[in-house]
Point group: C2
Chain length 360, copies 2
Amino acid sequence: MGGSRAARSLEPTDGPLTFEELQLAGRNRGMPLEALRYDLTPTGLHYLLAHWDIPAVEPDGWRLRVDGLVGSRVELTLEEIRARPRLSLPVTLECAGNGRARLRPRPVSQPWLLEAIGTAEWTGTPLRLLLEEVGIGPGATEVVFTGVDRGIQGGEEQGYARSLRLADALRSEVLLAYEMNGEPLQPQHGFPLRLVVPGWYGMASVKWLASIELVAEPFLGFQQEEAYRYQRDAADPGSAVTRMRPRALMIPPGIPDFYTRRRFLGAGPIDLEGRAWSGHGDVVRVEVGVDGRWSEATLDRPVGQFAWRRWACTWEATVGAHELSCRATDAGGNVQPVEQPWNYQGMGNNLVQRVAVTVR
Amino acid sequence: MGGSRAARSLEPTDGPLTFEELQLAGRNRGMPLEALRYDLTPTGLHYLLAHWDIPAVEPDGWRLRVDGLVGSRVELTLEEIRARPRLSLPVTLECAGNGRARLRPRPVSQPWLLEAIGTAEWTGTPLRLLLEEVGIGPGATEVVFTGVDRGIQGGEEQGYARSLRLADALRSEVLLAYEMNGEPLQPQHGFPLRLVVPGWYGMASVKWLASIELVAEPFLGFQQEEAYRYQRDAADPGSAVTRMRPRALMIPPGIPDFYTRRRFLGAGPIDLEGRAWSGHGDVVRVEVGVDGRWSEATLDRPVGQFAWRRWACTWEATVGAHELSCRATDAGGNVQPVEQPWNYQGMGNNLVQRVAVTVR
């Protein structure tokens, strides 16, 4: 599988941001961190990454094709999917590349800092029920999801396609979603239908679904075997990016300077708050750091089994320059690192956030 | 007025993008150009610029204060404003800094390329009716609009505030808007109430309105007299940025490469299309350039008196590398330039778009 990796992208760099990275940042959208105040992110503030163009899908002509190793192939209209059993779940989604542009050297791709996150209530029909209905054929081991979006990456023309192993696809929380926050999907979030895989980084939640195929062999598409890998270097086959690593983020306190985004606030007790999540189990602990000294934050109940939870604490701010940070620990004992977890593609960088503030 | 300009910002540069510019690009949001396909931009795809943080406004405690040189000061609740005469208008809004990052040397601020645009249907009550009702006092010459958002810019702590001369404020299309595309404003678009000034660049359409004040003297606030000026250099007092210059944009044809965004398509007849607008009157002509040779596009009716109009043409694509472009002319005879209209702050850069394509 390592054969075509050389063609994929530029080498990581200590150099300045490229024009191409700026173009990507101008198209893809982060969630400004003050929006951590909302249990559910307003739809227009949720993060957004599209590899190529946002496609225009006419719902009348659109069908979801389910085929491969199934008992009976089907093609479903949106109305037929909407008529099936319905489930709503609040789900925190994060781009696997979140934090990439904070790595040194910097993998060159969409240059996320910290904002590639959001939590929405997704409504759809459980994938499991559909797969059971069409019948899972003998020998099926994976499910391949393909979107209608199309483009070129790593020198290869392709439609966006990802697979899940059958056991992951059959988890009861995996949705074929047609609503976000109680409204039909906006075009940029996958209209008319997308996959939502709670707990996983966003690349698994394929947008603009065209087909679902059951297969017997591991899927070797570009977005599975080339992109979204934890690699040491270009030659390393690496391992697949799957579930979200634990992360806590803070609403930067005080008021910002327009250009530097440095924060300014007055001395005295300051309420600090944010959100924390993990794809490996509940967040069980959030610590807040002030100039490197850590203390415990209190935790609210999670917004849902697969969604972030609010944390809060009070800081007695004293005049001067300070660095605030926060870090999450999940039920699996995973803790956010204070040293960068570098890898070649810039995946899963859950290095702790640092917020520079001036108290005056 | 020129006194504090030296403190405002960095000098324009031919150097690489800064970390601070990346931070701004990660917060503010452009409209991917394929969304030019929509008459009305889906709310979550409309461009967005916030100087500081998106404020959290509780509608119950919020009041709009109208005071200064008025017959009677008032404070209005959102319900009282919603009960007033109602007007809906499709309006194209563009950030005055759109195109800034394409200038050489590059003014250092939010690094927009071409995406700081959008068209929405805004619903609200005409400002004129409210001003007439409270009574315009003798001597009033300007109306000052202040938002609840607060931060630091150019070394100065401030709330966002802009003025309109009385004659501009009394134009019948100026709205106090509480709905966007038929829904209450999302927080990032100015909830609960914003000004919408059709035809003007976006800085005039003050979000998160807190107060409206009638005054006798020209307003000298930072966002009026320091920012949003067409200046030659830091010492030049310059002239105020007001209405949108004409611009045409094209949906980039074919499919993109993920990283370079270069476009690829097959030979043969290709439908090119986009949108064009101007704040100085109707767009009366759009030309499409192929490798520097210009021909006429056809124009649809405008989406509204203050909104963009669709243009289209067919291109017989031949194998090879090509550069496509488009340019608009408005009823005032204003034409988009093919050489950059450079200025110190990077305002109103309506240089023609250029799209690199490979036909294979």
